[in-house]
């Protein structure tokens, strides 16, 4: 009797003392990665309780400013206005890059077009450019392939390349990057996009930021060193430099183990030095 009472008390105090309740909110692009990190982290840290939800980068930043989330996942930096709003509310946003992301543009191997500018890509996917001849290729209609509209890649490409305009309606949307790659590999005049890890049987087009800048081929290196134009850093925002449980979680995601998970779910891990530098000591 006495023994069991002690056990109950011990359990209760244990639970009270170390229940690390962490909420993560924000970018829909990052929500999948955040969930995987949370799952793996909770496996090795059974006392941690992490809740991950999406809603978009804007939602996450608003939640951070209102103090309703511990970590905000963001697929872009905060705008100046958002920094000001945060400071006005006594929040001191602390930004850490946790992973990288890059999107490659695919075409058929026989297609003579080797590079496109971001403007040309926008024109192609919004329907202003309809013929390969307009971008230096053969005279034939451009056949557009893309992802389904539930995909993060779809949203990212729309936001980053199309500047939030709509995809032209005759864009064929396929379930999964694998299907896009397959379709483009069989379509002489096709164009598609997807994560840079993909691309067997298709050509990766070089992408130019401006008409006069040099074309850059997508690769882990060019994404890592920031020269490839359709790439970005993915961030976690904290309120001030993270301490305690938050710091432990952040440092774990930046450890080789955490970065390996990022690679597993098709993001690009941070360069080793950068990951180490971003850890909070």
């Amino acid at each position: 009797m006495k023994k069991s009472l002690i056990a109950v008390m011990l359990l209760a105090s244990f639970g009270l003392a170390s229940a690390a309740n962490i909420t993560i909110k924000g970018s829909d692009t990052l929500v999948r990665l955040g969930q995987r990190w949370a799952e793996e982290y909770m496996k090795t840290h059974p006392d941690a309780v992490i809740q991950v939800s999406g809603g978009g980068t804007g939602t996450g930043i608003a939640a951070l400013i209102n103090g309703t989330t511990d970590i905000c996942e963001a697929s872009r930096d905060m705008k100046e206005k958002e920094y000001e709003d945060a400071r006005a509310k006594g929040i001191d946003p602390y930004r850490v890059a946790v992973a990288l992301d890059g999107i490659a543009v695919f075409s058929h191997e026989s297609n003579p077009v080797k590079e496109l500018t971001l403007d040309q890509l926008k024109g192609i996917y919004t329907g202003e450019i309809t013929n390969w001849k307009q971008v230096g290729g053969e005279s034939h209609a451009i056949i557009l392939y893309g992802r389904e509209n539930n995909s993060g890649t779809y949203a990212y490409f729309k936001e980053h390349v199309l500047k939030n305009e709509d995809y032209v309606e005759n864009t064929q949307t396929l379930p999964g990057t694998a299907a896009v790659v397959n379709a483009v590999s069989k379509d002489k005049f096709g164009i598609g996009y997807g994560g840079i890890a993909w691309g067997k049987g298709v050509k990766h087009l070089d992408v130019k930021k401006e008409a006069e800048s040099a074309g850059v081929a997508p690769s882990i290196e060019t994404v890592t060193n920031g020269t490839y134009p359709i790439s970005r850093e993915l961030y976690w925002f904290f309120n001030g430099q993270p301490q305690g449980d938050l710091r432990a979680l952040l440092n774990w995601t930046l450890s080789p183990e955490g970065q390996e998970i990022a690679e597993e779910v098709d993001y690009i891990p941070l360069p080793k030095e950068m990951a180490e530098k971003n850890q909070v000591k």
């Binding site: 389904e148 539930n150 709509d166 309606e169 064929q172 397959n182 069989k186």
Partner: protein, 319 residues
């Protein structure tokens, strides 16, 4: 030798067992009803919620809309846009196009095969053909879709020079392959159940096998064949995986069959998984589900009714 005796005392047990299997039969009915109620419930905000109606009221789903100032009004399905666009018309058109191609492809093949199998084939061949065609029904639709995406699309493109590899014809033919066994089985059953006496009477009048098949058996079995076609059409409307993979999923308004299409069912499959719970988009997808449910239900009901009528007539029970 083993003997069986059926004692009257087992009646109570019979009663219990009978009620139990009746309950099993009812389960299906209850499940269908519950599914319908749930799907319909989730689409109600389109009719009641002011907030949802700002994005997706009934007229926005059907009528041409002017989304941007200074641009042509149009029908457009772009749910993830700055200005969400939820026109169902391109999706309806896509569904219809795929189903039409599927029917044009499968009906002649399936009915022809049924005529051959029931009227002309020697017994041995018949016993081979029938199960083989019915085996087609066992191919998972995702496999058929994958086949259409990888193989069929390339073959059709090299044969006919389509601009778009994935188009209504490609998806329709793959769909047609899926519904051939449905039409074949029902049509074949209808023809074989035409009474032998009719055939014998025609033969006595000097008709040859062709005349018997086309002027006696075929007309007598026509309602059954029609029922098979109707049931096949129902499947063509509701089938998802094949069109999701083989049609290109581009929501366009055009009369051409060589362009990509996006169907109602594929739209649900592609978008429901990650839609924001309770948003207008979510409600619209459930509304599409309700429409599909009602439509395929009515089509299937019609097919079954015709089929029952035919059975009664051929067995001489009606009138």
């Amino acid at each position: 030798m083993k003997t069986y005796n059926f004692k009257p005392k087992s009646r109570i047990r019979d009663f219990i067992v009978e009620k139990f299997i009746m309950l099993n039969a009812l389960t299906a009915l209850i499940v269908i009803l519950l599914i319908f109620i749930f799907i319909f419930k989730e689409s109600i905000p389109i009719f009641t919620s002011h907030k949802v109606q700002q994005e997706a009221s009934l007229d926005k789903l059907i009528l041409k809309q002017q989304y941007y100032e200074g641009r042509e009004p149009k029908w457009s399905w772009q749910p993830n846009s700055d200005v969400p666009k939820y026109s169902l018309l391109p999706l309806f058109l896509g569904t219809l196009k795929a189903a039409i191609v599927a029917m044009l492809f499968s009906v002649p093949l399936a009915v022809g095969a049924a005529i051959y199998s029931s009227e002309f084939a020697p017994r041995k061949i018949r016993e081979f053909i029938k199960p083989v065609i019915e085996l087609l029904a066992g191919i998972p639709s995702v496999v058929l879709g994958f086949f259409a995406l990888i193989v069929l699309a390339s073959i059709l493109q090299s044969l006919f020079g389509f601009t778009y590899r994935l188009n209504a014809i490609n998806a329709g033919i793959a769909l047609g392959i899926a519904i051939i066994p449905i039409i074949f089985t029902i049509a074949e059953d209808a023809m074989t159940s035409v009474p032998q006496s009719l055939r014998e009477a025609a033969m006595a009048l000097g008709a040859n096998p062709w005349q018997i098949s086309f002027t006696v058996v075929l007309p007598a079995a026509l309602p059954g064949i029609a029922a098979g076609i109707v049931l096949g059409f129902g499947r063509a409307i509701g089938e998802t995986m094949i069109v999701l993979m083989a049609s290109g999923n581009a929501a366009i308004i055009s009369g051409g069959f060589t362009e990509s299409i996006r169907t109602l069912s594929a739209t649900i499959a592609a978008e429901l998984a990650e839609v924001v719970f309770g948003s207008a988009h979510y409600n619209v997808l459930f509304f599409i589900g309700t429409l599909l449910f009602v439509f395929t239900f009515l089509v299937n009901l019609g097919g079954e009714l015709v089929l029952n009528r035919l059975k009664e007539r051929l067995q001489g029970r009606s009138r």
